[in-house]
Symmetry: C2
Subunit: 253 residues, 2 copies
């Protein structure tokens, strides 16, 4: 076969003829299957040779598609074993979204307690960020995260109710592990990436009380919007962080 040419000729009839490489198309098909849950987090996907046969392309083309998905943390390659759907359950991925680390020493296991879990109507700004209509149902959570006895982060979280139907205070109380692990295993929603906006603010009195700091203390405010496959927003999170013994780490490339 003569490579890409026969498959995707630049069509002279369409005026905005777009060249889409084969491996991008394969990549898109793989994401589609991930989204549909054909392969679940933690499970292996078919081998490269099998995928190549299924999609009628060479192994090299499948490889390039899988390479990119692995680089984006959607898949995890394991030499000699296979390629697996990434999961928030694996310890390896635990700290990918947790940037707050102690100034000294190793990260200490955190303890989370939920102060609120209820269904409400989305305020305009929350609705907009979740790509919902204003007034659509959302689930609101308030969570206090502590490390080594001291309060560390107060999170307000909003989730689209449609996607997280059945998320109750009881489910939250009994669940152990990261929140994103619960979301992916219980609700089939896997967080892929997130955008954050960070600023310094003075602690309001209610927040200060919960975090056991003086009102007006400087806090790190982290506004996050999380996305699942295909850039679908699925979580809005606002966290107030005490950064006296912790800091937000970041690596710039």
């Amino acid at each position: 076969m003569s490579a890409a040419t026969d498959r995707m000729p630049t069509d002279p009839r369409s005026r905005d003829a777009v060249f889409l490489p084969l491996y991008k198309q394969i990549k898109s098909l793989l994401v589609q299957r991930l989204q549909q849950g054909e392969w679940k987090p933690g499970e292996p996907i078919p081998s490269e040779l099998e995928l190549a046969a299924r999609f009628q392309v060479s192994q090299g083309t499948v490889r390039k598609a899988v390479d990119e998905l692995a680089a984006e943390n959607l898949l995890v390659r394991r030499q000699g074993k296979g390629t697996y759907v990434a999961s928030h359950q694996e310890p390896r991925a635990q700290f990918r979204f947790l940037r707050l680390v102690p100034d000294q020493g190793e990260p200490v296991p955190t303890h989370s307690s939920f102060l609120a879990c209820r269904r409400t109507k989305a305020a305009p700004d929350i609705a907009q960020q979740l790509a919902l209509r204003s007034g659509d149902s959302v689930i609101y959570l308030r969570r206090l995260l502590g490390a080594g006895g001291a309060p560390l982060v107060l999170d307000d979280i909003w989730l689209p109710a449609s996607r997280f139907r059945g998320l109750t205070p009881e489910r939250l109380a009994e669940y152990r592990g990261p929140l994103y692990g619960l979301f992916e295993s219980e609700f089939g929603t896997r967080m892929i990436r997130a955008d954050e906006r960070i600023r310094a603010v003075a602690a309001a009195s209610d927040v200060a009380a919960l975090l056991a700091v003086a009102p007006g203390s400087p806090l790190l405010l982290v506004d996050r919007v999380s996305y699942t496959y295909r850039d679908q927003p699925v979580e809005v999170r606002r966290g107030f962080c005490v950064t006296t013994d912790y800091h937000y780490r970041n690596e710039l490339f």
Copy 2:
């Protein structure tokens, strides 16, 4: 030729026989040449075919090495033209290390004024971060960054004096453009990556005065260590940021 085998046999004599792929070796050679300044920022490197001939490997192997260096922002590929050494001068790379953006609207050009530029001895913590001996000479800069008339960031910067010999207040005053652009074109030192530690602090009175905020106001404190090729630390920077109309943006993958 029979691929990797003949070139790098897993040596049974050495007990910790390490398999180093050919393309990793090529990559290392390319970084070495970049570090030595054989090709300067903004300049093209030889074509893939020429590099393949020079290193006696196939084009595909060179390609894989270059692909990784491009992914790490050391090189920039331009289809039909060639592969270039990345540069802080290009507008494309301007915002790679500038994460502070306005809450609304497009980034406004900033104005920087230098409040200090002198040679001193490195304090222990600075020396340690720059991999120097305590008491080695460093250049200390203090810079006030403003946007749209209002002060935005106060930066304290420490640089190893040996690498930046000849950096004077006059040179700083007359230079236009990003600081990293000056470093790379005038001192042959190109910043590759940086580690940051972020926290919220209350403004001390002197800092508050310079930033035109009330003492005790919450500020974003960004501690940065920048590295050049081969993970050599070359800059320590401590920035106090006013985040009332600006925020630090971050993307998590």
